[in-house]
């Protein structure tokens, strides 16, 4: 195996492997170092396997409501082992696919754990293989794409033990259905697991430190989400933290403390800790090579440059938003910059975010509050699912699409959605933002009938007082 490369990428997650493919397309001799699975967390332990699980819970929900559609399904049941097995199979299939892509693009895959050593130009990459042997590799450029891992709360007794106290990792491969569940953190990950387990019948309580769930989303959407989940039987404790927790037999005793100082003890079968993630920066020798690390993340500019010669970082290891598509996009910008192409720094206002719960939530750009806080004069448009023919036909009448425009320039500042399939709709607004369309072009766009996407049109028209079907 060659030990000289133009580019070595550390980590083969959605940030790393996409970066490597783009580098290969640009003619760079490229290698990726991966310690575990090609495809990283996203593909093996994140985005993809959870989508497989949520598909199961969606179907299960529909089976339970089969009568609404004129179907008869008696006593719907599930086999949790088989559900997990399908999810693992999906992940495995895709991981194999990444291996094929690496081969296709003639990218060298180096198995093992990397660390960096300061060298004349770019850092030297030392890879420790499964056998413990270390091999040095040289490259003109090194991109760190090592991702992140779950943040935990050992001080509150919430150190994951893999049995009763879980992170996303254990939550994805349950051996049995938890009877009751406390989800700590109401971000996308927490809400997706809460939705999955609630749909399959667990008693679910979600604890959130801030005053509303899905705190990154628009306040109106977050309130609608809470209402929808509560209707399904989920319980929420906002402005609440887990003060103490202890495993008692096959259960966890949790002491929750509200803002007002009042405490409440909750005994649950399982706990999922989903309070965010921290970058995998340790043991890499990043600081010795000249990179700066702040609050668990590598400090970079908009092009992934660390300031140290030949050393770059992209994706979760550089901080939020922790999204696979943000990592891939950053990787492409970084490698195109290295190749001397004309690039623009990542614009976070153009990164869509999706939560695949039931109902789904999706957004891009500024929330109404943030737009106001930024001093913008805004126009807001709304359209509810109950005014849309396709939504009614689908039996999905709950939901809302909301648009926020700059009243002066017509710029689409943000779009927020809750309801069926909105994660598949949001890219329409993302394209609009990238092309810098104003409300005028969106109003002129022809949306097919009957589709859920018509609501996107109506939400734009509504911002201008021209809504048609409500």
């Amino acid at each position: 195996m060659s030990t000289q490369f133009d580019l070595i990428v550390l980590g083969a997650g959605p940030g790393g492997y996409v970066t490597a493919i783009r580098a290969a397309q640009l003619g760079l001799k490229t290698a990726v170092v991966e310690r575990e699975h090609l495809g990283g967390i996203c593909l093996n332990w994140g985005c993809i396997p959870t989508k497989a699980l949520l598909r199961t819970s969606e179907l299960f929900y529909l089976m339970k409501h089969a009568g609404d559609f004129g179907l008869a399904v008696d006593n719907p049941r599930f086999d949790i082992e088989a559900v997990v097995k399908r999810s693992r199979k999906v992940a495995g299939q895709l991981s194999g696919g990444v291996g094929y892509l690496m081969k296709k693009h003639k990218i060298t895959v180096i198995d093992g754990e990397a660390r960096l050593e300061k060298a004349a130009n770019a850092p030297r990459v030392i890879v420790k293989g499964k056998d413990g042997k270390e091999t040095p590799f040289e490259a003109k450029h090194v991109i760190v794409a090592t991702g992140a891992r779950a943040r935990t709360l050992p001080q509150a007794g919430l150190a994951p033990d893999g049995k009763a106290i879980w992170t996303y990792r254990e939550a994805m491969v349950p051996k049995e259905m938890p009877k009751s569940l406390l989800v700590v953190g109401s971000g996308a990950i927490g809400i997706e697991f809460a939705s999955f387990y609630r749909s399959l019948g667990a008693d679910v309580t979600v604890v959130e430190m801030l005053d509303r769930i899905l705190p990154a989303e628009d306040a109106e959407i977050s309130a609608l989400a809470r209402k929808a989940f509560e209707k399904q039987g989920m319980a929420f404790r906002t402005e609440t933290v887990v003060e103490k927790a202890g495993v008692v037999g096959d259960a966890v005793a949790c002491v929750l403390k509200g803002k007002d100082g009042k405490t409440e003890t909750l005994n649950v079968h399982r706990v999922i800790v989903a309070i965010g993630i921290i970058g995998n920066t340790e043991g890499l020798g990043l600081e010795a090579c000249g990179a700066k690390i702040e609050r668990g993340h590598v400090v970079v500019d908009g092009f992934g440059r660390t300031g140290a010669p030949g050393l770059y970082a992209i994706g979760d290891v550089t901080g939020p938003p922790w999204l696979a598509h943000k990592a891939s996009h950053e990787g492409v910008i970084c490698v195109e910059t290295i190749a001397g192409l004309h690039t623009h720094a990542l614009d976070v206002s153009r990164i869509p975010g999706c939560t695949y719960s039931h109902p789904q939530i999706a957004s891009v750009g500024l929330t109404e509050d943030k737009a106001k806080a930024a001093g913008k004069k805004i126009k807001v448009g709304r359209f509810p699912f109950k005014g849309n023919g396709k939504a009614i036909a689908l039996g999905e009448q709950e939901g809302l699409i909301k648009t926020i425009f700059d009243a002066d320039s017509g710029e689409l500042l943000g779009a927020h959605m809750i309801g069926a399939e909105v994660t598949e709709l949001i890219q329409g607004y993302a394209i609009a933002k990238t092309l810098e369309t104003t409300e005028a072009e969106l109003m002129e766009t022809i949306f097919p009938h009957p589709t859920l996407s018509e609501m996107m049109h109506e939400a734009v028209l509504d911002a201008d007082g021209r809504v048609m079907h409500i």
Binding site: H342, D408, L435, E436, T437, T438
Partner: protein, 429 residues
């Protein structure tokens, strides 16, 4: 409703023509595309086609009438149904003879057309590639998109580019006041940056583009690509001019010292008055013939060049031209010129004689129709009455915009200029 049929302009230079023959008579029903008349110009006879359907209600200009002005109403038809939408004037093709069934009449037979301001921004083909948001923000801030270089895909101007542009900072438009049409790509056809895989960054430095450099690059690129230009070169014997200058300066009051260039400004202005067709600008509306000789003089300054204008140079004395030129040149070098002092010339003069350049051909300073490039005056052998002799000779090159100044007109102008330079006293006539 009644639709007026107007006398069409069949070429850019046409002002009037002869209505040779009518193919229709009052009461005829005509269809769009039907030949209705024949028009004669000095160059050709052409057929005029109807644009609208209707019944001929009046023939206002009888067949055989000469000197019918362009846009005069020559007939009227009563149309059926809704009024036709007014049509924009069709841009003319090059001033080559137009084929029969020329496109021009189409526009001219429609309802009377409000002519845009002369030399207004150009035709619709000059699309500036910009995002809708960039366009709207630029409009609200008064930023001219055609002056920006887009950083989006394929040179598309995006919000960022507009935000980086200073509000109201339409780049310095050197001499001409006319907004220059944008280039197809929304900027210059140039690489966004040097390919650093080929040109290593340690082997060059980047000097940022300032407004003047951008303007020079943009305007001259546009001119060189858009104007069908050609040079005419002539040698002038300037012994008479030098002698006259010496006498003028000897007799001039304290502080007045006329330069060769001042004399050339005056001679140019006189030649423009002598050959008024050469004092012209091309527009889609027609050829603009300037009433005064406003001579723009190229002045090299730190970081670029600028062309201050001696307005009405034909009616100014040498002392006045000389004093004005000194003041303008000094303030040009200090970058203190007001826009009205470097915009709006009708002709340009560029002199590189002081650098010893023998001859060169400048690029047209749009929308002016001509620019004169002046080489060094030097002693050269000449043949005079079959004998070799030595004379002070200067080579000048006139670059002409063929759309308004044909070879013969350029030559006439040069001949007049030569007379004024070689026999400066004739300027007193």
């Amino acid at each position: 409703m009644t639709i007026q049929i107007l006398m069409p302009a069949l070429s850019p230079t046409m002002e009037e023509g002869t209505l040779a023959k009518w193919m229709i008579k009052t009461g005829d029903a005509i269809k769009a595309g039907q030949v209705i008349a024949e028009i004669e110009t000095d160059k050709a006879t052409m057929e005029v086609e109807a644009v609208d359907e209707g019944v001929v209600s009046a023939i206002l200009v009888p067949a055989g009438t000469a000197g019918v002005k362009v846009n005069a109403v020559i007939a009227e038809i009563v149309g059926e149904g809704a009024a036709p939408a007014p049509k924009a004037p069709a841009p003319f093709a090059a001033p080559a003879p137009l084929p029969a069934a020329a496109p021009a009449p189409a526009a001219m037979t429609a309802a009377p057309i409000q002519l845009p301001t002369p030399m207004a921004a150009a035709a619709s083909g000059d699309r500036v590639k910009a995002s809708p948001l960039a366009k709207r923000i630029a409009k609200s801030r008064g930023i001219d998109l055609s002056g920006l270089v887009g950083s989006g895909p394929n040179g598309r101007i995006i919000l960022r580019d507009v935000e980086n542009a200073k509000p109201g900072a339409s780049p310095v438009r050197s001499p001409a006041s006319a907004p220059a049409p944008a280039l197809p790509a929304g900027g210059l056809i140039a690489p966004a940056s040097l390919d650093q895989r080929i040109y290593s960054p340690d082997r060059f430095m980047v000097k940022p583009l300032d407004g003047m450099r951008r303007t020079v690059a943009k305007r001259l690129t546009e001119s060189f690509m858009q104007v069908p230009h050609f040079p005419l070169t002539l040698d002038l014997v300037i012994d008479g001019l030098l002698a006259a200058r010496a006498r003028i300066n000897a007799g001039a009051p304290e502080g007045v010292k006329v330069s060769v260039n001042d004399l050339l400004i005056k001679a140019s202005a006189m030649a423009l008055k002598a050959v008024p067709d050469a004092n012209a600008s091309y527009t889609d509306d027609g050829v603009i013939l300037h009433r005064h000789a406003d001579v723009a003089v190229a002045v090299a300054i730190e970081g670029g060049l600028i062309t201050p204008v001696i307005f009405n140079a034909e009616s100014k004395g040498l002392a006045a031209i000389s004093a004005e030129m000194k003041d303008l040149a000094k303030r040009a070098r200090d970058r203190k010129l007001k826009p009205q002092e470097y915009q709006g010339g009708t002709f340009s003069l560029s002199n590189l004689g002081m650098f010893g350049i023998k001859a060169f051909a400048s690029i047209i300073n749009q929308p002016q129709g001509m620019i004169l490039s002046v080489g060094a005056g030097e002693e050269r052998p000449i043949v005079k009455n079959g004998q070799l002799a030595v004379a002070n000779v200067m080579t000048v090159t006139l670059t002409c915009d063929h759309r308004v100044v044909d070879g013969a007109i350029g030559a006439q102008w040069l001949a007049a200029f030569k007379t004024f330079v070689e026999a400066p006293e004739t300027m007193l006539l």
